[in-house]
Symmetry: C2
Subunit: 311 residues, 2 copies
């Protein structure tokens, strides 16, 4: 039995797990992400050592484009500026084989090897959270693109001249289906006088943000603004997924992230219908499934890539 | 020097070329496409034999999804119904190795190996004709998808609730950027009284259709409807290409087909600008080039695949 460390390097926390070669997480830990790449490397090294002596390799999922172990940009990591050769720095410190992968791709690999994507060779992972992330497995291999930046489903344009996205572009999937954009839309509409109880629901729950729980409550109450904004989100996500399916002839889509965990199969059914509305082959066999590994997808996927590299 | 036959099996004509291992077309011929797969096989066999005795293998580009040498559907081929094991039937008749590929993928492979896409490992081929076709080379390999149907750039949705496409869906790239759709839009607008000289230009040129030449003339004259419809086509094509680039992190796009041949670099510059308007990485190195092989892309690409299979 070989065990490796899987690391999910996030903007807020570093999550690390000891993962065996059946992709089971046998131990895990979480530490706050320190500022800057030097201290992040130190934190990962300390966490790997704390897992014990039987770690054969390390896999890391990082929030940004990754090419040959180098994190090219990572706007969500505090204090990271230029590109960081993260794999090499961890190898030097740990004396172990290290693989570094984009986090959305790592999450997709986790679901492909050990979750809802098992058995597919043509898979899209969609991560519905504050933004909308995506990862691809094509022809049975993780797909990274020319410079490690593939998978940006959130920035597939679905409405020419549409709503402005956080990225500055117009009409992106994320401008409709990212939680941050959905919240902005609700607040602007509420200010403009459209009736909604969403802000009251959030306040009553002691939430500063319109969390997945707040959305769930508002939709259960048939709140008209929540229903309308959620329908737009589903339509945009469906169109973006259909763009990917028509281009790439995929057979499986795995939905993960906070909104998916809350809504589960209610969401996959609606997203599948919105996708089918734009599929060239309307009766194409296409499975849309909820991620099975929850928050562990990225950690397990990074571990799987490290295991694969051991051969 | 090994020579192979490259075949472009079209709805109107079968074009065949003798292609050497430097991808030069040393001989070629064209015959009308007969009705039904049996007679099409006979016509290809006769054309291959007419090329002479030194044909080492045959590659065919066919208009439809192709999986393991089987043409699954081919609505543009007269009298083709169910799936046809075209590679096997040609092998049985010719006693030669045969590769069959989707025609848009074959054209993209042709440009990748011997044309404007040389040197790229992450390439989209876009074929602007009556419809809008697409082909992909990813990680330095032709990409076919789960069932041989990948590359449908024409049916990437770019306007939710947009114009109806010939395929029945709404808001597809092809609904704006396919010549047939553009013509339909012009005729409807002209009937509704919008000023345009396009139909007169076509009549004066003795054309039943709004050909690339008619478009060129109308745009040179600043015909207001032509300018508006063409701008919509460029915007939609750009958004569809951006969807592919953001998803797949491509570095090269090759534009081919009748409209491209007529407009050349004037078109690639405008399409690149329309694509950049939706690129997540605005300054990403991305090349948009005109196909170099003209009508031969598919034939040369099919031949290249046959050469590769010889090893």
């Amino acid at each position: 039995m070989t065990s490796v460390a899987g690391v999910d390097l996030g903007g807020t926390n570093i999550t690390i797990g000891l993962v065996d070669d059946d992709f089971r997480v046998v131990d895990d830990a979480k530490v706050p992400t320190p500022r800057g790449p030097g201290r992040a490397v130190d934190a990962i090294v300390a966490a790997v050592r704390a897992l014990g002596a039987d770690v054969a390799a390390v896999g890391v999922g990082a929030p940004g484009p990754v090419s040959d172990g180098v994190v090219l940009t990572a706007p969500n990591l505090p204090g990271w500026g230029d590109s960081v050769p993260l794999a090499q720095r961890l190898r030097d410190s740990l004396g172990l084989p290290v693989e570094v992968e984009n986090d959305a791709t790592a999450g997709t690999v986790g679901e492909w090897r050990a979750g809802a994507g098992r058995g597919s060779d043509h898979l899209l992972g969609v991560w519905l959270g504050t933004g909308v992330g995506g990862g691809l497995v094509l022809d049975g291999r993780p797909y990274r693109g020319a410079s490690g930046a593939a998978g940006e489903l959130g920035h597939v344009p679905v409405r020419l001249d549409g709503a402005q996205c956080g990225c500055g572009l117009r009409g992106c999937v994320e401008a409709y289906a990212g939680r941050a954009s959905m919240e902005r839309t609700v607040r602007l509409a509420a200010e403009a006088g459209r009736p909604t109880a969403m802000l009251d629901i959030a306040a009553a729950a002691g939430k500063q943000r319109l969390t997945a729980k707040v959305w769930s409550r508002a939709l259960d109450d048939d709140d008209p603004l929540a229903v309308a904004v959620f329908a737009e989100a589903v339509a945009a996500a469906g169109a973006g997924i259909a763009a990917a399916v028509n281009l790439l002839d995929l057979d499986t889509v795995v939905l993960g992230g906070g909104l998916t965990e809350r809504f589960g199969k209610r969401l996959t059914g609606r997203v599948l219908a919105a996708t089918r509305a734009h599929l060239l082959v309307a009766d194409k066999p296409l499975r849309v499934a909820v991620a099975e590994l929850g928050d562990d997808s990225g950690m397990v996927g990074a571990a799987a890539l490290a295991l694969d590299a051991l051969g």
